[in-house]
């Protein structure tokens, strides 16, 4: 019985390792995931295969660092359709998204 409780607890903890590190709550992670798929997806494709914006699949991003990607996310790219998200996302949240993109976003 006790073992099961422990198992459940460790599952809960390991389900959101990034949350623990960055102080992003599980609920906020859900929101970010939804934003990534739905709203970033409106330009990059729901499956990140590209649209008005380029594909953001792990293969397409190979060699690019999470730091670089989160800078693009926060500040956008002037002169292109990529908007700056710093009004809506914190640095930690942009970083979380960058890491999700590098891992591959699944619905």
């Amino acid at each position: 019985m006790k073992a099961i409780t422990w198992l459940a607890l460790s599952l809960i903890l390991s389900a959101s390792p990034v949350a623990a590190a960055d102080g992003i709550s599980g609920e906020r992670e859900q929101e970010l995931q939804n934003l990534l798929i739905q709203d970033c997806g409106s330009c990059h494709g729901l499956q990140m295969k590209g649209g008005l914006g380029p594909a953001l699949l792990p293969e397409a991003l190979r060699g690019k660092s999470a730091e670089y990607l989160s800078t693009v996310i926060l500040h956008g790219r002037t002169g292109t359709a990529m908007p700056p998200w710093r009004f809506l996302l914190s640095e930690a949240e942009a970083r979380w998204m960058a890491e999700r993109l590098l891992q591959g976003v699944t619905q």
Binding site: D39, L52, G79
Partner: protein
């Protein structure tokens, strides 16, 4: 004789009872996360069926056959699906490119054109068989680069019109002789046209520009006059706000001589006087407008917004140019579609997983339909309108 009766009986059998109804009060909405559509009826404000297996439907759009029975659904993954809305089933499906963005049906209903991002261009298919009729690569520049194509619409006299995002061009494709496509190109229309529309009479094609101020207008009755810039001073010298979602120009909102379009990079709806194409006003609104759609009688204009204001709808009175109503249907209001005569409007509320029907006079909610991440809503009345 017996054979005739037998086949008649057979015909009756397969044609009843499911077929014994019209389709003028039907439509569908896209459920983009589940690759499906729900078929809806506007007389009862209910969902009457659903069709799955339609691929990646982000940004999907729909046109209807002239008999209003078949919906052609253009998916992001390049899928072109013909859905029989009476039988609620797929009648044909084709993967036509890597990445598509929209489509149009020809004036005579015999051709369906699809615009593609990748590889950039337009493909034209037979509306019956979905066989390829013409492949028009959107090449530009010295190295034959391919441009993403946006703003594809049908126009009178068997034409399609579209714009090239990367090239800054408008092309008129004459498909009146299907085995001999003729293309007329208009270059240097402005940087990054992001969407376009055609007026309800099929005369003016207007592309919104993301990379420059103003809009590019082509008078299809006088193409030799070339493309003109309208509202050239709009937004000049002003700090642009970030655009978290590209506005849509599909809902050409016209009331009398006035047209209403979303500004880009400003929280405003622009009013254009169509007599002289001058700016006739700017209406401050709640966020970056996405769809600016007129009720079919033109008395109201309904506006939805980009994130983070996409929980709100504002209604503008076209006589006073004032915002007369603000609604908060819920998070992620993505699209709206008026019933053919405008007494009710349907809204998709993506993040709340529902579609809602509102009375446009009392602004009361009439019904709510559960849905999975709903986006575009399309009623069959579009079948008989130019540019939709």
């Amino acid at each position: 004789m017996i054979r005739v009766i037998a086949s008649l009986a057979f015909l009756l059998l397969i044609n009843t009872p499911a077929m014994a109804r019209g389709t003028g009060d039907l439509g569908l909405f896209i459920e983009r996360a589940s690759s499906s559509v729900q078929i809806v009826e506007t007389s009862s404000n209910t969902s009457i069926g659903s069709v799955a297996g339609l691929g990646d439907l982000s940004h999907a759009s729909v046109v209807y056959s002239r008999d209003q029975r078949y919906a052609y659904i253009f998916g992001r993954d390049g899928g072109l699906t013909k859905v029989d809305i009476l039988k609620a089933e797929i009648s044909q499906r084709k993967l036509q490119s890597g990445n598509s963005i929209g489509g149009a049906i020809s004036q005579d209903g015999r051709l369906v054109a699809v615009s593609n991002y990748k590889p950039g261009g337009v493909k034209v298919f037979d509306a019956d068989t979905l066989e390829l009729v013409a492949d028009i690569p959107a090449t530009f520049g010295d190295n034959n680069q391919r441009s993403k194509v946006i703003g594809l619409v049908d126009a009178p006299e068997g034409k399609f019109v579209f714009a090239l995002w990367d090239a800054g061009e408008i092309w008129v494709l004459d498909m009146s002789q299907r085995d001999r496509p003729v293309i007329e190109k208009f270059k240097n229309i402005g940087r990054n046209p992001y969407d376009a529309l055609i007026t309800g009479d099929g005369r003016y094609y207007i592309a919104g520009l993301f990379g420059e101020d103003g809009m590019a207008m082509l008078d299809l009755w006088n193409p030799s006059a070339g493309v003109k810039r309208i509202l050239p001073d709009y937004g000049k010298g002003e700090q642009k706000l970030p655009v978290f979602k590209m506005p849509h120009l599909e809902g050409w909102a016209v009331a009398g001589d006035l047209a209403f379009v979303p500004a880009i990079g400003a929280h405003e709806v622009l009013v254009i006087n169509m007599r002289d194409w001058q700016e006739a006003g700017r209406i401050k609104v709640h966020g970056q407008p996405i769809f600016v759609m007129a009720r079919p009688d033109g008395r109201q204009v309904w506006v939805n917004f980009a994130i983070p204001n996409n929980d709100t709808i504002q209604v503008i009175d076209t006589q006073t140019l004032a915002v007369i109503k603000q609604l908060k249907p819920g998070k992620g209001v993505l699209h709206m579609e008026f019933e053919p005569r405008g007494e009710e409007v349907w809204l998709s509320v993506r993040d709340e997983n529902r579609v809602e029907v509102y009375d446009t006079r009392s602004f009361e909610r009439r019904n709510t339909i559960p849905a999975t991440k709903p986006s575009g809503i399309f009623f069959t009345a579009r079948a008989h309108r130019i540019g939709l």
